[in-house]
């Protein structure tokens, strides 16, 4: 039981922790980010508990498809926020990287849509966290022996998941500032594409979208999604061992839309850069 609990909690925490790690690295040096990200984590934990408490009502809503719609809505909201942040970074990121120590940068950085990242963190923590809460609640409510070992296992899983997120964050910080934001922006684009693909899967499950072909490929023998590397890739780039056609479509469309807009804005000179040149 100890190991089982540790693994389940680790898996769920890992996904949220990787998202937080990328977001933290992507907002390095921005004033007020701690508040937004910390607030996002706090709201996410609270949200996780609420979702778990109302799991029954959510599942019963929308003719039994409430859970699917709820998950899809959360995922697409996160995709929207991540996309918005990328496009903003495409416009201003270059200036931030160029004048990272200048006062003028603080102004540009201050207007950055940190709320978007805070919301993403909250959604990620809330979605993954609700499963942890349900699982632990089940153990606590059940008459299974060894509740203590499960609790300890859960804590070990939590710490291990958070540690991997921290490793990713510290690893990203070793990238020179000049390139850091370009790297994190593209990582965020991939994160968004993966979430869009997952959201599409929930809509197929709810019978709202057509699958457009199930199991386009099956790579579960090579890299299972329940393995740790599979799980990490699932979060970071949206790896799916058995994707349906519509998932690939959503993945590609998200990459294309956010990627194109970010690139287009990146080519334009932002007002901050023009002002800096004029001064």
């Amino acid at each position: 039981m100890f190991l089982g609990a540790a693994i389940i909690v680790f898996r769920e925490v890992l996904e949220a922790a990787l998202v937080v790690g990328i977001v933290m690295a992507g907002s390095k040096g921005v004033a007020g980010r701690g508040l937004w990200i910390g607030g996002g984590i706090g709201a996410g934990v609270l949200g996780a508990a609420l979702v778990a408490v109302f799991a029954g009502s959510i599942a019963a809503a929308a003719a039994g498809m409430g859970q699917e719609l709820f998950n899809a809505a959360i995922l697409f909201a996160a995709v929207g926020m991540l996309g918005w942040h990328c496009i903003w970074m495409g416009r201003h990121g270059r200036d931030i990287a160029r004048h990272v120590s200048e006062v003028s940068n603080a102004v540009a950085a201050g207007s950055r849509p940190l709320y978007a990242l805070g919301v993403v963190v909250g959604l990620a923590v809330g979605r993954e966290g609700s499963e942890v809460v349900l699982f632990l609640y089940g153990i606590a409510a059940g008459s299974d022996a060894g509740a203590l070992s499960v609790l300890v296992g859960g804590i070990v899983g939590l710490v291990a998941g958070a540690a991997l997120g921290a490793i990713l964050y510290l690893g990203l910080l070793r990238i020179p500032t000049r390139y850091l934001f370009a790297v994190t922006t593209w990582m965020i684009v991939l994160l968004a594409a993966g979430m869009a693909s997952q959201g599409a899967r929930f809509l197929v499950q709810a019978d709202i979208l057509p699958a457009l072909g199930r199991n386009i490929w099956n790579s579960s023998g090579v890299l299972s999604e329940s393995s740790i590397p599979g799980r990490i890739l699932h979060t970071l780039i949206g790896y799916d061992s058995n994707p349906s056609g519509i998932q690939l479509l959503f993945y590609a469309a998200t990459l294309a839309i956010i990627g194109c807009l970010t690139y287009m804005y990146g080519r334009q000179s932002s007002p901050a850069a023009s002002a800096a040149r004029a001064a």
């Binding site: 389940i8 349900l134 609640y137 999604e225 058995n242």
Partner: protein, 117 residues
């Protein structure tokens, strides 16, 4: 300026989703229901045979007091079923083959598979 772009993207995405929904084929023929019970963190039955190409509905009853998550990567399904509740899960149409599923919260004991023939 940026807000305009965001709204444009939102509109584009909405149009895309609308198109996809319009292209969606109505659910197809329902080829029957299969009742599955979760009891003592085990599925009953543990093996479900369905004809390939058929679309069936799993009527899953969680007879345990604790929540369980019906999960199958092969089927692309992830659904939490609170203790004492029922859930409907649409499966298929599947090509011939074996599709495993688990109860994620008790993966050691809650294992099953769907065999499409």
């Amino acid at each position: 300026m940026e807000i305009r772009w965001v709204s444009r993207i939102a509109v584009a995405v909405a149009i895309g989703l609308g198109l996809a929904a319009a292209l969606a084929q109505p659910g197809g023929a329902d080829d029957g229901n299969v009742a599955v019970t979760i009891k003592d963190h085990k599925f009953d039955p543990e093996m479900i045979e369905i004809p390939s190409g058929a679309q069936v509905k799993l009527l899953v009853t969680n007879a345990d007091e604790t929540p369980e998550e019906f999960e199958s990567q092969a089927l692309g399904i992830e659904k939490v079923i609170p203790g004492g509740q029922k859930a409907e899960i649409k499966i298929g149409p599947l090509s011939a083959g074996t599709y495993e599923f688990v109860g994620e919260f008790h993966e050691d004991s809650a294992k099953g598979k769907i065999v499409a023939k």
